[in-house]
Amino acid sequence: MRPIISIITLIIVLSLVLFITSCRGGTPQSVLDYNFKQGIAEVKMKFMDNAPPDKIYPLSKFKIILELDNQAAYDITTGKVSLAGIVGDYFLMEETEKELDPLQGRSMLNPSGDKVQVEFSGTSGQPFANAKEYRNNYYLLLKYSSKMDFGATVCIHPGLYDMYDSGCKTEKSKSFSGQGAPLAVTNLEQIIYPSGVGAEVEYRLLVKNRGKGKVTLVTFHGAKLGGEPLECEFRQEDGTTLTTAKFNEKKQEAMLICKTFLKDQSSYLTTLSADFSYDYVLEEKHTLNLVK
């Protein structure tokens, strides 16, 4: 009895803690103030009810209707939905691939993001011989391209040896929870080397996939420190550097290295920004059931 009572008590306490910590106080935030470019968000996929049905009968028509809801803070520019692995003898689909129109992300003007329904029509066949059923596993693949903007306030202190600088304090490393996309800059490192009359500054941005799908390619489009452009490149495994980074199954992150030279001056706060675009694939496994 005692162990059971202890477990029940623990569950109740954990539930209470979870409930309490999830409540938020304060006045609700208006859309105008809300920063959509934070956290991790992406396109959500779900099937409409009964499309496809749990059981499909032989020689009948059926539909697969997918609702795509763009919860990211950026628009999807090019996208495609495809069905891979459906056996035509049992489920003959009119199309297995559909191109997507641009889908707007969440913003001040469109706080809930765009939703769209993608429909695939098909006709079922017959199970083999006198089989009573046939189960066909297949993959639903959503491939799209989108972008992500990173911005952070950093303290620049070229005069490292100034003991009486009452400006800002430099931070060697900073973590971020995301920029409203599945691809996120999760960590920023700042390294300053005194050099002559100034300092060489190196920023290392860790770009990582935090979404449920997979990033296949990330392209760097430009970075600025204050108003000045920064030279940045992705460091590759073989030591070379490029403005694109290929992600694979095992490695879903890359390091962007940015360097600049700053003249000797007092410390100050400024903005570091970087723009990226990426290709993304979201895959889900589903099943079609043909029953007699």
């Binding site: 891979a84 056996v87 199970p127 011989a129 006198n130 089989a131 009573k132 199954e249």
Partner: protein, 659 residues
């Protein structure tokens, strides 16, 4: 449960009392009879006296030695008896012995009822053995066993979801009640109670049934488990106490049993991979089905040397290549059995060598054949079965010289769920069991037209009566064999394949495991055929059994018709693989053919599974699948038309009435 309670209360006490000291030694040897006489008579007499004394001393020592030896022998015998009786008091040890006996009985006599009774008795005994390992709530070990018995024997193993919902809920409720009343002490015993259930099924043939119903491939490991694992003895070994008695009385024997059992298991299970398991829903058959399945699977497996013995011999003879040595010994013993016992060839003769060579060639051929699997979605295969009523005249009496007019009826039941159209021709044959083995065909009553059954419906039944030929008087014991020759059966199969076009290594590394998991779990990468009498196996790919087809490589197409029933394939009239729409460059013979492309092996001399090979060829990947964005799944169908022969033997006896 009162009776159990009384018995259970005695569980947990150490089994086997400590032995007493080994028997009392023999009484001290009688002291040497001192020679009488003192020093009288001078030296001579002294010598005489001394000699007498010495002789007496020698006699005394001999007597003492004999007595000591006798005492030692008695002590050893007494110790041995103590060991055995002490060990016998361990339930686990009894299970080991009875498990071995039960296993041997099954091996020699098949699934007779006494074997089944043994299994049930061991099922109950194992509860005692396991309960000995528990400290509290021992009686609760019987609860899951009791629930299982009620479900299996009273409710017939009903697995209907609605029934299970109620039954399982009630079972869980009762278990929880026990757990509450016993303050949690019954949980562990209840879990222990599941062990005898698992072993009961393992013993009566779950593995062979999985082979037949779920298509386990018979790997060497599975073969060893089917033929050489006495499961109850195994359970007994595992539950042997670490210390049978505090005084160490029966420890030696029990430890020997444990070590021997573990060594046996290790040798039997050495060096093989577990087959890829693909579970699907299946019906729960009765114990008779299990036993029958075990016999059928064992019948499929040729008689070979015990793998434990092979292992032992190979460890000494070829320590650097033990697995290879074991495989060669197993193969050699199998061929030896076929040629010596079945073909009855004298070892050392040219005929014997020729037989070995022929069988070896058949084995090599079998290794190269493409495999297939039974389609698990087809629950109702085509079957034909001879049935005998309780009124079948197994034993009849006739006056001397009387021409018995009783016929021997059998009902042939054909199940045809796919509504095929075929005919069945029935015949019968008598073979006497006496010294002069006389064999003659019987006559199906009604003439030539009455011995044929045309099958068009889902179920067809007909009774055929077999009579001895005119003028033939039956007297003695006979083996009556009914034969059904089935013509124009269709074996249909399907094969799934995935075409990936040209992809880089990274894509393949990421996607091939996903594709295999989603589309080819278990044995579904093989062709799936209806589990009828024969199954058409076919494959395409590079290698043929690889379900992932890449562009740029030639694809191998291969096929065969495999006998998976209990009879014989007597002819193949045609075969057709539905590939011509995709693989236009393939040789015609490879895709389709008739009896002219087919060689039916002489099954009388072949002891491997009967397999009829069709031509093999290579082709290019169809252009439509040369380049694909992700991957494309396709399923191909194939069919073969064949003739089949089924037989059923029944023993009859005609006794002569005394004059």
């Amino acid at each position: 449960m009162g009776k159990f309670g009384g018995i259970l209360s005695s569980l947990g006490k150490s089994s086997g009392k400590g032995s007493t000291a080994a028997g009392k030694p023999a009484s001290s040897p009688s002291s040497s009879s001192a020679a009488s006489g003192g020093a009288s008579g001078g030296i001579g007499s002294w010598l005489k006296g001394a000699g007498g004394t010495a002789a007496g001393a020698v006699r005394g020592r001999a007597a003492a030695a004999a007595g000591a030896a006798q005492a030692a022998g008695t002590a050893v015998a007494y110790e041995a008896v103590e060991q055995v009786t002490g060990a016998a008091k361990s339930t686990s040890f009894i299970i080991v012995i009875l498990g071995i006996v039960q296993y041997l009985l099954r091996l020699w006599f098949g699934p007779i009822s006494i074997v089944y009774v043994f299994s049930l008795a061991l099922f109950v005994l194992s509860a005692y053995a396991l309960a000995a390992k528990l400290e509290k709530g021992k009686a609760a070990i019987l609860l899951p066993m009791l629930i299982f018995v009620v479900w299996y024997f009273i409710y017939g193993g009903n697995y209907e979801p609605t029934f299970l919902m109620y039954f399982v809920s009630i079972a869980i409720g009762i278990s929880l009640l026990f757990a509450l009343v016993s303050k949690g002490n019954s949980v562990k015993p209840e879990l222990y109670g599941l062990i005898p259930i698992v072993f009961l099924y393992l013993d009566i043939g779950l593995i062979p049934l999985l082979v037949e119903k779920m298509n386990f491939s018979i790997t060497p490991l599975l073969e060893s488990l089917i033929l050489y694992m006495p499961w109850w003895a195994f359970l007994g070994v595992m539950t042997l106490p670490t210390e049978s008695s505090k005084e160490g009385g029966a420890n030696f024997l029990i430890n020997v049993a444990r070590i021997g059992g573990i060594m046996y298991i290790v040798f039997v299970l050495v060096v093989v991979a577990v087959p890829d398991i693909g579970y699907a829903k299946s019906q729960l058959p009765g114990t008779a089905d299990f036993e029958a399945a075990q016999l059928r699977v064992k019948a499929q497996l040729p008689q070979k040397e015990n793998p434990a013995y092979s292992n032992l011999m190979c460890i000494f003879s070829e320590p650097t290549d033990t697995p290879g040595c074991v495989e060669r010994r197993q193969e050699a013993s199998e061929l030896k059995y076929i040629c010596e016992k079945l073909e009855k060839k004298e070892p050392g003769t040219n005929e014997y060598d020729s037989c070995l060579k022929e069988q070896k060639e058949e084995k090599e051929k079998e290794k190269l054949k493409v495999a297939g699997a039974s389609d698990s979605t087809i629950k109702e295969p085509t079957t034909a079965e001879f049935k005998f009523s309780q009124f079948f005249p197994k034993l009849t009496y006739a006056a001397p010289g009387e021409n018995l007019k009783v016929g021997y009826p059998t009902e042939l039941e054909v199940k045809n769920p796919r509504l095929q159209k075929f005919t069945v021709q029935v015949s019968c044959n008598f073979t006497s069991k006496g010294k002069d083995k006389e064999s003659f065909p019987g006559i199906i009553a009604g003439g030539e037209n009455e011995n044929t059954l045309s099958v068009n419906e889902m179920v067809e039944r007909n009774t055929f009566v077999c009579n001895p030929p005119d003028g033939k008087i039956l007297n003695g014991s006979y083996e009556l064999i009914y034969t059904a020759k089935i013509s124009n059966l269709i074996a249909a199969s399907r094969l799934g394949r995935v075409f990936i076009g040209k992809k880089d290594e990274k894509w393949k590394e990421e996607w091939i495991p996903k594709i295999l998991s989603a589309h080819f779990s278990g044995s579904t990468y093989l062709s799936q055929g209806a589990p009828d009498f024969a199954r058409l196996n076919f494959a395409l790919g590079n290698p043929a059994e690889n379900p992932i087809v890449e562009s740029g490589k030639k694809v191998v197409i291969t096929s065969n018709l495999e006998n998976v029933g209990g009879g014989k394939i007597t002819g193949v009239s045609s075969y057709h693989l539905g590939l011509e729409n995709y693989f236009s460059g393939a040789d015609t013979e490879c895709i389709q053919g008739d009896s002219s492309n087919v060689h039916i092996p002489d099954t009388a001399k072949s002891y491997v599974k009967e397999v009829i090979f069709f031509p093999t060829c290579t082709v290019d990947v169809p252009s439509v699948w040369e380049t694909v964005e992700d991957y494309v799944t396709a399923e191909f169908k194939a069919a073969a038309q064949y003739d089949y022969s089924l037989s059923k033997e029944v023993d009859i006896e005609v006794k002569e009435l005394p004059t």
